[in-house]
Symmetry: C2
């Protein structure tokens, strides 16, 4: 019972109870070293035809599926990307999340989804849980700007893309558009359409508020904000159809002369449309409605909804590309992308 054997003792595989199929088994079957099997799977061009065939055959026969957790630990590349949204239901970010998932999946990455909530209380815990998985990138949509979260994220060194906004001092990369420009553009649009008493219904989230601040300012300078301040209703986030209905009722009580409403989401706009129809208010005759987000259903309403379209798919695909580029060690030349927006004019204006 020597305390120190001179020759290193043969490694005994102690914990192999589930004894899952490993690269070793495949390598043994193919009569190569494990590392060669690894190369055959990851960089097939670096391996001879014959060996490639043998390894592939062994994989086929055993039904081997590599363990990417182990691979990630060794290579420091998890091929996991985290996306954070405020909430997933009824969110304008769905298109972005879809594009993200698809683009990433097409390149062998997998998406983790996290919900930060609109209150922001869960954000820090969520971010810690995310960083603990060592993702190759984090994509932030909507809020998520606790200072602690920012610091942690920077400290972790993980590539970050912030989306759906153009903040002056991003954590890292940026794919979005200017909410201020958007708000002002809508005011000018309504002015050109000869609306003279505009109003707004705004969800109580930070970006919507900035959007509508710019809208109010532009409307005032165009002289279409009504006699006093702009008539405005703030409804809680996330926005709903009911907020729109209630919002219109409140607005009408407050300023009966209004002839146009800018809503912070298409759902709210749908609520306004429904309430207007229920009250016998002609749209667009007496009241113009502009939404935001261009949901799939907006073009199918009657009348079809005028809205501001943001290309969420482009945002998602671009963000995914940025992350993958970074993960593969290539620098991103222009890590800020303004995708802009379009006012899609339809029947409600």
């Amino acid at each position: 019972m020597a305390e120190h054997d001179i020759d290193r003792p043969a490694p005994k595989r102690r914990r192999s109870k589930g004894s899952s199929l490993t690269l070793r088994d495949v390598a043994r079957l193919a009569n190569v070293a494990p590392i060669t099997a690894s190369r055959a799977l990851n960089t097939p061009e670096a391996v001879s035809e014959a060996i490639l065939a043998r390894v592939k055959d062994a994989v086929e026969r055993t039904g081997y599926v590599p363990n990417l957790l182990a691979g990630g630990l060794a290579s420091r590349r998890s091929r996991l990307v985290a996306a954070v949204v405020p909430t997933i239901t009824g969110s304008v970010f769905l298109e972005t999340v879809q594009a993200l998932t698809d683009t990433l999946a097409a390149h062998g990455y997998q998406m983790m989804l996290g919900q930060a909530g609109y209150a922001g209380t869960r954000a820090d815990a969520l971010l810690e849980a995310i960083i603990a998985r060592r993702p190759d990138g984090v994509i932030l949509t909507g809020i998520m700007h606790s200072p602690l979260a920012r610091r942690r994220l920077v400290a972790s060194g993980i590539p970050v893309v912030e989306t759906w906004d153009l903040t002056p001092n991003p954590v890292d990369m940026l794919v979005g558009f200017s909410h201020e420009q958007l708000g002002a553009a809508v005011a000018h649009f309504l002015h050109r359409r000869a609306r003279r008493h505009v109003a707004a219904i705004t969800a109580g989230d930070e970006r919507a508020i900035r959007r509508h601040g710019a809208f109010a300012a532009a409307a005032a300078s165009l002289g279409i904000a009504g006699p006093g301040a702009l008539a405005q209703q703030v409804v809680p986030a996330p926005s709903t159809v009911e907020s729109g209905r209630a919002g219109l009722r409140a607005l009408l009580a407050q300023a009966p002369a209004i002839d146009a409403i800018f809503c912070s989401s298409d759902l709210v706009a749908l609520g306004v449309l429904i309430e207007a129809q229920a009250q016998g208010i002609a749209v667009p005759g007496q009241l113009a409605i502009v939404g935001m987000g261009d949901l799939a259903l907006s073009r199918d309403l009657h009348p079809a909804l005028t809205t501001v379209r943001v290309d969420g798919t482009l945002i998602g695909a671009t963000a995914a590309r940025y992350i993958m580029q970074r993960a593969e060690g290539r620098a991103v030349a222009q890590p800020v992308c303004d995708v802009g927006f379009t006012i899609v004019e339809r029947g409600t204006t």
Copy 2:
């Protein structure tokens, strides 16, 4: 330059370039062995007060975030759960995904999301990508039933929950409801409401078709399916408002006498409602509409939509609980859960 040192050479940390903060660093700072630091973090009750405090302090001071990839490899528990949906946009499963994410997050698990597509071509590749991450569980919603996928899943030994259905031979666990019962219930409901010429608009996905098969059979046996076969339109999945509008037009051309339509989703039902309003057809006077899914907006329509509600949140939370129970080694006593459904009667009937 001895070729074999008798004493094992001191491990030289060769690859430490990024030199991330590890448990070792924390342990060193707290003056304990790494395993003790590990215990302080994972099973604080198994460690003395004094040590717990020292470790916590060290974590605090360094900003240490554990590497769960490494932890998962060692413990064979990734704390990752995969959810698969056909597509994320416009999906009735959003509520389920939300509940899943939240329930899992509350217990330290993270959700990976995958989109299989309605065509089913991406399902196999997606499933391989998922299994490669060794999740503690997989939650399937919607289709995903390629035989290869089933086999792989079973072979992997990963706990599986199939949701939104009650299949006769599940892969593993099951949380759903009977689409057949649902379809029949709607037929009886319309019969009781004195509708005598019912019709249906069905998205071309397998469950909707089964639902509507049962609807048609029950309607026929009640004598409300019209003179010949039930008037029915099949529209492509995923369903949209436009499908509903087009569907109603087609149905009217085909069978002008219909007085009720069962739609395979609320979005389709909204389309029918809009088209009816556009054509001056009174709802519910001339035409009753029943949706499926009870979207948030359905109750806010005018008239509010009668629909079949399925508790997607309950499905998600239950599925999450099943997976976590299994992951923690406890068997699930009743791995089949019928969450049922409710017909929510509102203004369109």
